[in-house]
């Protein structure tokens, strides 16, 4: 893990709009916390599929990352997803990797 995020109830991860409500107050639609977690899980799974991994919301207060062999890890936020994904998946999770980008173009989040 590359950080202390979450330990002793930190400020909340920067990607979560609830951590900085003032920043996102000009949104046209109301985004509930639950809906945001659903959208995050759906999109991150479109990326994780390339590595044979899957993320599920875990009771609304963490995420469960699963590999095909049954290995699991509980993570609190997106930053922790990538470190855990490299531990239980197949090597480096690189957003600049051409093979990943090609698989994102083929798939998309719908599946």
């Amino acid at each position: 893990m590359c950080g202390l995020c979450g330990v002793l109830g930190g400020r909340g991860h920067w990607t979560e709009t609830a951590s900085n409500p003032d920043t996102f107050r000009s949104r046209a639609e109301t985004h509930t916390w639950h809906r945001e977690r659903q959208a995050r899980t759906r999109l991150v799974n479109a990326v994780l599929r390339h590595y044979g991994l899957r993320l599920d919301d875990w009771s609304g207060n963490a995420y469960m990352l699963r590999g095909k062999t049954g290995r699991t890890a509980l993570v609190d936020n997106l930053t922790e997803v990538w470190a855990a994904a490299e531990q239980i998946g197949r090597g480096a999770c690189d957003p600049l990797d051409a093979a990943l980008l090609a698989s994102l173009s083929d798939g998309g989040p719908g599946r």
Binding site: M1, C2, G3, L4, C5, V7, L8, G9, G10, R11, W14, T15, T17, S19, N20, D22, T23, F24, R25, S26, R27, A28, E29, E36, A39, R40, L43, V44, A46, V47, N77, L78, T79, V81, W82, A83, A92, C93, D94, P95, L96, L101, L104, S105, G108, P109
Partner: protein, 350 residues
Amino acid sequence: MTDYAALIPINVITGFLGSGKTSLLQRLLASPDLRDTAVLVNEFGEVGLDHQLLQHVAESTLLLENGCLCCAVRGDLQDSLRRLFSQRERGEIPPFRRVVIETSGLADPVPIAYTILAEPVIQHHFRLGNVVTTIDAVNGGRQLDAYPESVKQAAIADRLVVTKTDLDTEGRFDALERRLRQLNPSAPVIRAADGALAPERLLARDVDDADGRRRDVDDWLAAHAVPAGDRGGHDHTHGVASFCLTFDTPLDWTAFGIWMTMLQHRHGENVLRIKGLLNVAGQSAPVLINGVQHIVHPPTHLDAWPDADHRSRIVFITRGLERARIEASLAAFNRLANPVAARAPADALA
């Protein structure tokens, strides 16, 4: 939740050995605006600081298990800031409203930023303000050539202060200024010798102050309006290059967060700086993001767009990472959220 802007700001003054950090600090502390400032210094230099709230910090770094160097908590700083806050709360020292940390000349400022933003106790009382980097007009160019530490100090700065311009008899300033603008186009370059240094511009006008961030954005958008060629082309000091990506299509905040956390996880050591004005899908006001290596400031916003151009603009300062790969990658992640509307990024300004 505590109002983030109401936390006590901490400014970091960094710069290479002998680049005039203490002299700059001495001048700033003479200003009545900075009367209620506590100062932490890493080393006592030749220039004496006479300030009632001055404490010395010995340098020690606690490297986290499995952590990278930039995500190290500076144990000395952690102790000093906690102690300072405790003394303030107990009324043992005056109730300071700002802290300035002067680093040692070879220090990496990123662990200091990490300590302020991520340490569980400190993040509830303090926030990171501007990082000010001093560069010597006479020796600065040579130091950028020879020392990667010097390049990193300049790359992560919010304000670049060129010192000793009065000793610059060979006219090195112009070339140095061009080079600094290439290296870190989002930071204003200020001459220390130009009359009174405005503490407000250097320290108070920061990303967490509503007026400050609006003017700050004006400054760096103006810097990017200058074609790259006029800023002197691309600088490749130690493989470090800066560029600005522009996106016509609004960015999906969730997809952007997934992309940026993944980029920082895999390439954080080589992403020295990300600073951006984002058009977030479904939101009328622009969102400002500000990241250093593996660290991200809490995102802020402007109340309105500064002009008619509502495209997302993101400045990257990277080491050895190609612009085209970053551009294609962010566009591909954004298409995940909006597969029909998203298109390839527009031509960048830099």
